[in-house]
Symmetry: C2
Subunit: 126 residues, 2 copies
């Protein structure tokens, strides 16, 4: 099931993932006041996320509806990375290169990745 999320949807999903089973109000209040949208805005987005199959309703507490994530953060992130990768011609090299250039990738990060790669390779990839 292909789930393409918009910026705002992604933003809301962050909270759903972080908060677990949660309600509109809870999400809305978790958003920093500076960028906090109206209650109904959050609700609209949640409804759209539900239509897209990204979240589902679980139960009701009082008259408040609770939601929880259906898609994993990992899956969504993977898709984002893949999309970006496509842009870069499918090769991760330019992507990594950009990371290095922006000074955000440290030697430690690389070492860590190397470890991970070796481990993963051990148990036969994908």
């Amino acid at each position: 099931m292909k789930v393409r999320l918009t910026r705002l949807e992604l933003e809301i999903m962050q909270y759903v993932w972080r908060l677990g089973e949660t309600a509109v109000r809870e999400i809305q209040e978790a958003i920093p006041a500076s960028k906090r949208p109206a209650y109904t805005t959050v609700q609209t987005i949640l409804t759209r996320l539900e239509e897209k199959g990204a979240v589902r309703r679980t139960r009701k507490i009082g008259n408040a509806q609770l939601y929880e994530a259906v898609v994993t953060q990992k899956k969504i992130y993977q898709r984002l990375v893949d999309e970006l990768l496509d842009l870069f011609g499918g090769s991760p090299e330019p992507l990594v290169s950009h990371l290095v250039e922006s000074g955000k990738l440290t030697l430690e990060d690389l070492k860590h990745a190397e470890e991970q790669l070796k481990t993963a390779r051990g148990k036969k990839g994908k």
Copy 2:
């Protein structure tokens, strides 16, 4: 100057970068038939790109207008990577981790990045 490009705009920019000084027709024909939009669609996008300051008109050949990129691919890509990075909480670690998991990052890529990092560091960061 902040240039935010949509998917289609980005797609078109790929061709502008690749083709250099180029015309609508040239871009349109360079797009694989399977996903080739109408001529006027490409034109509309180019106009929007011009409004956004991503491309500019250069000269005319016959009655055909030529365009060229104003923003560099590097700049745009950097922005994309930065945005993705923000999503990942600002740390590149999960991003790289995803790359490794998808099996797209090789040891060679890592070695290469390491080299680059060391070199870059030599001439003072940022």
